[in-house]
Amino acid sequence: MNSTATDAAEVADATDVTDASDPTDATAEKDAPAAPDAPGEPGEPDVSDGVDVSRRRWPRVLGALLAVALIATGGALYAEGRQLRDTPATANLALTDAEATTRVTGDVSSALGKIFSYGPGATAATRAAAKEILAGKALQQYAALFGQVERQSADQKLTLTTEVVRAGVTRLTGSSAHLLVFLDQVYERRGRAPTTASAQLTVVAELREGRWWIVEIGST
């Protein structure tokens, strides 16, 4: 079917005087319908050439459309895949990275136990421990708080023991973690029965030089 059309084209091409000087087929195809008033050129070959051009073009157009469709499909699938995978849910590694979750929970729990536990004569040790655990804003917050605590502890012979009841990771990335911590604080004054207070804190920790530092402590 195509060959008969091409045959016609070749006949037309052969009779076309200008064709010989045309260096490429592409220009011939373009030029032929564009030059209807060439001298001595009858209308018929032009028409057959036009039909031929459209027939010869359709596989190309189809191919191009197919290629575009394939690329578009690929792009759409890729975008959909990204959307499914890169969600706020997947960016949060809490529990999905079980090892990191356990580690940060353990580190922060033991750190809070250390910095919020002190005895009347041992506040210096607690203060020293805090410098190894806290950084940034948390260190400033703690320093302000601990000044009062040190005086109180000395005056009232106060002992505070803090124990983490439960800690959970609300948000975890490669280098930072947000935690919710439930803790019990036992106050003991010499000569009185100890009192227990329950508290909950939100903690922001950052992984620096291979260990977790507490950078922010807030009440919920």
Binding site: G63, G75, A89, N92, L179, L180, D184
Partner: protein, 198 residues
């Protein structure tokens, strides 16, 4: 297409030298175009295949599915804990219905059994409780068994007919079980005070 054409031209009776050379020129100039078209087609097929593969992987990514389940469980858990701490004596039935809808298993049974007595109590006390979730986290998740543990820090405001509203912060531990209707609370309690660390 170009090759077919030249071959046919060779056998064509009207094929002349001029025609043959023109065909050769045509084949020569079209080849790069064909190569470009082929390359484009390969690229297009590759793009579609690659996109399809990524899309397939994304749906079958266990970590992504686990993360989604975790967030679903947390959202359901926080909502359920909030529901369980919200009750208005003026719309008792609605409130207690929402309690029952938020729970399953033993906790659900307890609520159903104690409903009438509790409703009477609240109707008499005329209290309005509202709750606000401050923060929550999933502490454990067993995707296969359909069980999860959540911890929720909550601020509860109880308003009685007389006196100032009482605001209390409470820390709750809940167990969630996956049901046909989503994640539901199967146990809920205050985090123990003075217990051993967990």
């Amino acid at each position: 297409m170009a090759r077919q054409r030249t071959a046919r031209q060779g056998t064509a009776p009207e094929g002349t030298g001029r025609e043959g050379s023109a065909g050769a020129v045509r084949a020569g100039t079209r080849n790069p175009l064909v190569i470009v078209a082929l390359a484009l087609a390969v690229c297009a097929a590759g793009a579609a295949g690659w996109g399809g593969w990524l899309r397939y992987e994304a749906t079958h990514d266990d970590a992504a599915a686990f993360a989604r389940t975790r967030d679903d469980a947390l959202a359901a858990g926080e909502q359920a804990v909030q529901n369980m701490n919200t009750l208005d004596h003026r719309s008792l039935e609605k409130g207690l219905d929402s309690w029952e809808q938020s729970t399953t298993g033993d906790l659900h049974r307890q609520l159903v059994d104690g409903r009438d007595a509790f409703a009477e109590q609240i109707a008499e006390a005329k209290t309005v409780s509202t709750a606000e979730v401050l923060s929550g986290a999933v502490t454990e998740l067993d995707e296969r068994a359909g069980r999860a543990g959540v911890m929720v820090a909550l601020r509860v405001t109880v308003t009685a007919p007389k006196g100032e509203p009482a605001v209390k912060e409470s820390r709750l531990l809940g167990s969630l079980t996956r049901t046909a209707g989503g994640w539901k609370l199967s146990a809920l309690g205050q985090a123990p005070v003075g217990g051993t660390g967990g």
